[in-house]
């Protein structure tokens, strides 16, 4: 098996006539925390959404756990995979969204335990116990019966993280997880993410939180105009950025 958990090679993606990903090579090792940064429109969120096939790619290949996602190889050519197979692969790739997307029609406990019950065959009592354990882990043990509409943004996002963790994914994708939050709630969400990173979780994080990137990332990947322009350990990228666009980005967000 490949040393990489996520392996994207020569990925190209178009929105109509606009090329949003341009021959992107992007790999994530097991246990690695990779932070994707870049100006808006640089393609970082699109790349993230391609990893679990919420966006379809036009060229190149993306493999998770050594298996192609979204496509299947037939006689040397890539053909779209069956919806059922894509769904099966997504179970191992958790995602946390900018706007939380908790299921509005069910309480917190059901939000967390639904997918394990339906997809992993976990018995209801067991799924509930796991859900409560996860709620403890994200610091919201008393919100099990609450409905999403009754919770603050920060609470909803911590529960969204718990929901993703309940499927015991191999990798967790974060799509600007703090961008929709009021400033005073950013810290609680980043705190949970920091704990996760420490526990050895494989994470890909799209964010504008440079402080988080600097402290938590094993590797920072900088994107601009659909390409990866720079990659390296946080100290290198933040203190000695090589690419002029990285410098422009950092000076824009840090000052």
């Amino acid at each position: 098996m490949s040393e990489f958990l996520v392996e994207a090679t020569e990925v190209e993606k178009w929105f109509g006539p606009i090329k949003v990903l341009d021959r992107v090579d992007f790999n994530v090792r097991r246990g690695e925390v990779v932070v994707l940064i870049g100006p808006s429109g640089s393609g970082k969120t699109t790349l993230l959404r391609c990893i679990n096939h919420l966006e379809h790619i036009q060229r190149g290949r993306i493999a998770v756990n050594g298996v192609l996602i979204g496509y299947r190889e037939r006689q040397g050519r890539l053909v779209p995979d069956a919806e059922r197979n894509i769904a099966r692969q997504r179970r191992d790739v958790g995602m946390v969204f900018q706007r939380f997307n908790l299921f509005n029609n069910m309480n917190v406990l059901s939000n967390i335990s639904l997918a394990p019950r339906l997809l992993r065959g976990t018995r209801p009592a067991e799924a509930e116990a796991e859900a409560r354990a996860l709620l403890d882990r994200v610091g919201l043990p008393d919100k099990a019966e609450a409905y999403p509409a009754e919770l603050s943004g920060g609470q909803q996002q911590r529960i969204a993280i718990a929901r993703a963790l309940a499927m015991q994914p191999a990798v967790l994708l974060f799509d600007e997880p703090t961008s929709a939050l009021d400033p005073e709630m950013v810290g609680e969400v980043l705190g949970v993410m920091r704990d996760l990173a420490r526990s050895g979780m494989t994470m890909v994080v799209v964010t504008h939180e440079m402080g988080f990137a600097r402290q938590v990332a094993d590797r920072v990947v900088v994107m601009a105009e659909g390409r990866i322009i720079e990659t390296g350990v946080p100290e290198a990228v933040f203190s000695a950025p090589e690419h002029p666009k990285t410098r422009a980005l950092l000076s824009a967000v840090l000052h």
Binding site: R91, R99, N104, N105, N107, L118, L119, E145, E150
Partner: protein, 248 residues
């Protein structure tokens, strides 16, 4: 103007057995056609939203034809037209000592076919009104489309379309009168029959109108209760008991 008050009150308060049978038929037709319309309509809506081109085309064509032609024409077409062409003849069915007349079957079928097309559009509107993020979250967890629909999307869509559904059944109750054209003795046809013998047209049609108003008013009261129960006045804040009902 002459209005025969004693006759009016007698018809209103002590209706004939035939009229009460007609009332029963009206309710039976409306309820069964609506229930069938719910089921057919959902299948059609899922067809229209499907990624399968054939399913999408077939559902679209059905909705286009049914919504584009008069219900009265559809009723006659299904009962008399199909029989005349030798395609389908509705025979009386005898089940457990109850006779289920051929024209009643055709009437319910026609109402259901018509209703399904409108329900399909309502479902589609409801499903489209559910936030895209809800779909994406379900997909990202690894749910196949059917599971996502059943557990996440439809419960939320259902809540959105409760009020339009109430409207549809109100229309359905009144549309049953059209089935009188193929000889189903529902309230209107019974009234016409009595009228042809008595010519108390004003009084008799006042009575039948009042009975319909009574039916639709009862339905309104029920919908008002549903609205309170599901707290529809507060969008996006599913009340716990409503969500529990919708979830399973």
């Amino acid at each position: 103007m002459h209005f025969d008050w004693p006759y009016f009150w007698a018809q209103l308060l002590t209706p004939s057995l035939a009229f009460l049978n007609g009332l029963g038929l009206t309710v039976v037709m409306a309820v069964s056609a609506q229930l069938l319309g719910f089921v057919f309509g959902l299948i059609l809506a899922l067809g229209r939203l499907s990624t399968n081109r054939v399913a999408r085309g077939a559902a679209g064509a059905y909705i286009w034809v049914v919504r584009g032609t008069p219900l009265l024409v559809q009723i006659v077409f299904i009962y008399n037209g199909l029989a005349a062409a030798g395609i389908l003849d509705f025979h009386d069915l005898h089940v457990l000592g109850v006779t289920f007349a051929g024209n009643l079957q055709a009437g319910i079928l026609a109402l259901a076919i018509n209703e399904a097309a409108y329900m399909a559009e309502i479902y589609r509107a409801g499903i489209s009104a559910v936030d895209r993020g809800q779909f994406e979250a379900a997909k990202a967890l690894g749910m196949p489309p059917s599971m996502m629909m059943r557990h996440v999307v439809l419960p939320q869509a259902f809540r959105i379309i409760l009020l339009p559904i109430g409207n549809q059944f109100n229309i359905m109750l009144k549309n049953t009168t059209l089935v009188s054209v193929i000889g189903v003795s529902e309230m209107l046809l019974v009234t016409e029959t009595i009228n042809s013998a008595t010519f108390r047209t004003f009084e008799l049609y006042s009575v039948v109108a009042i009975y319909f108003l009574l039916l639709t008013s009862l339905w309104n009261l029920f919908m008002a209760w549903v609205e309170r129960h599901f707290a529809l006045s507060r969008p996006n804040s599913a009340t716990p008991q409503a969500a529990l009902v919708l979830q399973e």
